[in-house]
């Protein structure tokens, strides 16, 4: 397929359609209104369903229902809307319902600001709802990566029968870039995916208790609830193999910058300038922020590295807390932060890096 020049929101929506997503419910919120707008046009073209829900709470509950019935389903929102969706996300995790959602994050807390931010990191990676469940969380740093990860997210959600989160931000949402799309899943493939869920999905079964589908977002018996928690915990451990991270220049780096999502884009550009100026800089960019690639920080050559510079669009740092776990006090960690809808500037990153190298 030819390259297309597309906005991040619309590209993510198209990637979902290509992955076989045939149900979307969402509620308007900046900066991701183009996701529901695009899908309101696109879903009818492919025989899918689009619903503008009466709220985020209703939209995620619709997705919970549609995905319970075996359909690949998605919702999307931005920070305050994701907070409302946490109820349904937790229900999906508890009831083993696969679904994908994207958070095009904006400044917070509260209604915050409508501009890009990375202030939902803890919410996405540690506590997206009650009950201590986890999800795979992908953090794309380009529109192309957002497309590829969204496409794959549906497979992983189905594999694990668990929600998958695309943690993007307002830059990825509104930026236009050239993208190439993965192939469109055929109706035959989509039917086969739905059919593979027949056993547990709400599609109707003979009325004998062994056969009925029973979507259970909780358990009356505490022993059953604990067993469900244990099974989930065992699955989270399996995710070690799914970790994705980009590393550069760690062998000889005197300074290692680390960042994710859109700020990692800025970091990469800063690192190439630093290298050109003779400063041996490297970077670590987690692509999965849950599971977190703590092991990548073992690849730093701590005999040479003066400091790790955490670059993040959140004050106080959140991603930086995971970085600290990875670095394990083997060298100091400095922070270059902005927040509230401000986008990290390359000059700020360069200044912070140079200050460390001088000091």
């Amino acid at each position: 397929m030819a390259r297309l020049f597309m906005k991040g929101t619309e590209a993510v929506a198209e990637a979902a359609v290509r992955a076989g997503c045939r149900f979307f419910a969402g509620y308007p919120i900046t900066p991701q209104n183009e996701v529901p707008e695009y899908l309101s046009r696109r879903m009818p073209e492919v025989g899918g369903v689009f619903i503008q829900g009466e709220s985020e709470v209703a939209s995620i509950s619709m997705v919970y229902g549609a995905a319970s019935a075996g359909t690949r389903s998605m919702t999307s929102s931005s920070s305050p809307g994701i907070a409302l969706k946490s109820e349904g996300i937790s229900y999906c995790a508890s009831a083993l319902i696969p679904m994908v959602y994207s958070n095009f994050a904006r400044g917070g807390p509260g209604v915050g600001s409508i501009q890009p931010a990375q202030q939902d990191y803890f919410q996405a990676t540690k506590a997206s709802g009650n009950g201590g469940f986890q999800m795979m969380v992908f953090a794309p740093s380009s529109v192309q990566e957002a497309v590829d990860l969204t496409y794959e997210a549906f497979d992983l959600a189905d594999r694990d029968r668990n929600p998958v989160c695309i943690l993007a931000d307002g830059v990825i949402a509104t930026m236009m870039e050239s993208v190439e799309f993965p192939p469109m899943k055929s109706n035959v493939e989509i039917d086969a995916i739905k059919e593979s869920k027949r056993e547990w999905a709400l599609v109707g079964h003979d009325f004998e208790k062994e056969k009925r589908a029973w979507i259970e977002p909780g358990h009356w018996q505490t022993k059953d609830m604990q067993k469900a928690n244990e099974d989930a915990a065992a699955m989270y451990l399996e995710w070690e193999k799914d970790i994705r991270v980009e590393e550069y220049g760690l062998e000889d780096a005197e300074i290692v910058l680390t960042s994710y999502g859109i700020s990692a884009r800025v970091v990469k550009s800063a690192v190439s300038i630093l290298r050109a100026e003779g400063i041996k800089a490297g970077y670590i960019r987690p692509i999965t922020v849950n599971p977190f690639p703590y092991g990548a920080y073992d690849h730093i050559n701590y005999d040479k590295c003066k400091a790790v510079l955490n670059v993040e669009m959140s004050i106080p740092a959140q991603f930086g807390v995971d970085v600290k776990v990875g670095v394990k006090d083997r060298c100091p960690i400095e922070h270059c932060l902005c927040s509230g809808g401000n986008i990290i500037s390359r000059n700020a990153v360069l200044d912070a890096a140079k200050k460390i190298m001088k000091g």
Binding site: R22, F23, A25, V49, I51, G53, E54, S55, V57, A58, S59, S61, M62, V63, Y64, G65, A66, A67, S68, A69, G70, T71, S73, E87, G88, Y91, A95, L202, V203, G204, H205, D206, F207, E208, K209, R212, A213, W214, I215, E216, P217, G218, W220
Partner: protein
Amino acid sequence: MQKIYTRTKTIQQDKVSGFCPGCMHSTIIKLIGEVLEELDVVDRTACVLGIGCCGLQMDYMAYDNSTAPHGRACATATGVKRSNPESLVFTYQGDGDLASIGLAETMSAANRGENISVIFVNNGIYGMTGGQMAPTTLIGMKASTAPKGRIADEHGYPMHMCEILNQLTAPVYLERTSCNNPANTMKTKNAIKKAFRNQLDGKGFSMVEIVTSCPTNWGLDALASLEYIEEKMLPEFPLGVIRDR
């Protein structure tokens, strides 16, 4: 000897219900099961349960079911139905679930004319959590969070969901019934059947509001609860067809 009555197969034969003595949930669940069998749709039915005592049936119902987040049953059912239009999808909700926390989801699904059926069990109180005030609690009726009884100036008035939904254009069928005597119980069964038939005929949103009791939280025995329904509940919640299109 000829067998003229058996338990509906939609209830697992080896299970007992967890409902309190005199509770009408078990009656209504039986009626629903009989209707599903009579319409021969059990193998394509999906029930979306609300949160509350209504969910106690999940252990022993024999057909597909899920539990929605508290109040979200109409939204969850919307997702199920839209993704499988050939299924018969109904919600089963209490008054706290449908008329308080889920008011937006109920109104919006009705307003969209979703082709689902809603079975609304109105016992005037929060059953599962121990008798707190509900949107349908009668004026003067005591609740654990309204120790002096519901006071209009402070709590407002009981909500009449059939009449409220009757303000919308889309719903096709709204009826209020009860299970306080055999005649009303039979009418309830017919209303449920009609709501399901409407859906199978692709007509759109139907709701049956069933006025019931909660002997445990009303602090009355089963018989006194039936009298309370007759004397107090039904004057506030008159029975009958509110809309039939």
